[in-house]
Symmetry: C2
Subunit: 208 residues, 2 copies
């Protein structure tokens, strides 16, 4: 059985949603960042990166959201959550998810995880990073709004693994200082994804 | 025919190598960062992100190295550069490449691209980011050294799309202030990848 290590209000929600969407038999383990459980010896045995998410499978541990989303889609092909038989369409989906992890999520992370890239006691530089977040996160969402989000779903007519991932990162945009009026298609997409039963179930589980 | 937009000394080398490895029929277009060609109107038509690499295919444009590497591997399956028929092994390869793009490459980027995350005229914060690079890039390479690089190749006995990507990012580690003695397996891997004819051909093309 699959086991997902997650933390509330993090990108692990994307994989949690996809496990619900495909009807997987899975369990979850909550990691409490407030208690720094992601750095505990027990968790570092699971994932030496000290991050969430991590997915225990019968073959071993997987990490990194883009990889985990594809793994779930490939393991449950009947759910048709990725264009697995079309290398170009699959690459487009992967490029979208790669942009989310390496550009949008990184821009966002400079608000609360600045200590990864400057000394933790350098308050001035940490604050300087935080001041840039509204601009850098807005720029990423505007690229998605204008160039990447095909509509009605990210990849077009079919809901895929890209949709819950975008939905997850879009949870944080107001707190990041993004003006929702600048990205109406992203906001409408977030609303529609949020109406799906699998999404509501995953969120309710994480906040219970 | 495939057309790769690249810039010398960037992560586009990884895709360039893989195109050579599979024997693809492709051409290249050099983008000169010194002339800010990645921000030219002509290039933004190709890739609105204003970054390299970009790959023109007969179906459209692809971006993001992890997606492009899988696309080439899937398009030339005889080269066996990715475990395409094994969802778990494929996810492991994707997780490795995702770590490279979203953690290692990002840590490195704080040395020369700090303006993405603080105001460009904030010299003190830019310098603070640069001072952290040796520590953050070393930490990423040490995780690869101890936990991810199976040996002899990244995924074990078979050379895959993970190898040229790690090789590409390992070009920069001395300039990032990493002590090579701390990561002997990564250094040995870099040497062995560098001996491959496809790698030497791609590098020679980019530096010609």
């Amino acid at each position: 059985m699959l086991k997902l290590f997650y933390a509330a209000h993090t990108c692990s929600l994307a994989t949690h949603i996809v496990l619900e969407e495909v009807g997987a038999d899975y369990s979850t383990v909550r990691i409490d960042f407030g208690k720094a459980q992601q750095q505990s010896p027990e968790y570092l045995e699971v994932n030496p990166k000290g991050r969430v998410p991590a997915l225990i499978t019968d073959r071993g541990v997987l990490t990194e959201t883009p990889a985990m989303l594809v793994f779930v889609a490939q393991s449950f092909p009947a759910a048709r959550l990725a264009p697995l038989d079309d290398p170009f369409a699959f690459a487009e989906a992967q490029a979208f998810n790669s942009y989310l992890c390496s550009t949008l999520h990184i821009a966002h992370a400079h608000r609360m995880r600045g200590h990864r890239w400057v000394d933790a006691d350098d308050a001035a530089s940490i604050a300087a990073m935080q001041r840039k977040v509204p601009q850098s996160v807005t720029a990423s969402f505007e690229l998605i709004e204008h160039d990447l989000l095909k509509g009605p779903w990210v990849m077009g007519e079919r809901y895929t693994i890209c949709d819950p991932y975008l939905f997850t990162l879009a949870q944080w945009l107001e707190a990041d200082g993004v003006d929702p009026k600048r990205i109406p298609r992203v906001i409408d997409h977030r609303r529609r994804v949020g109406e799906r039963p699998a999404v509501q179930k995953a969120i309710a589980d994480e906040l219970a």
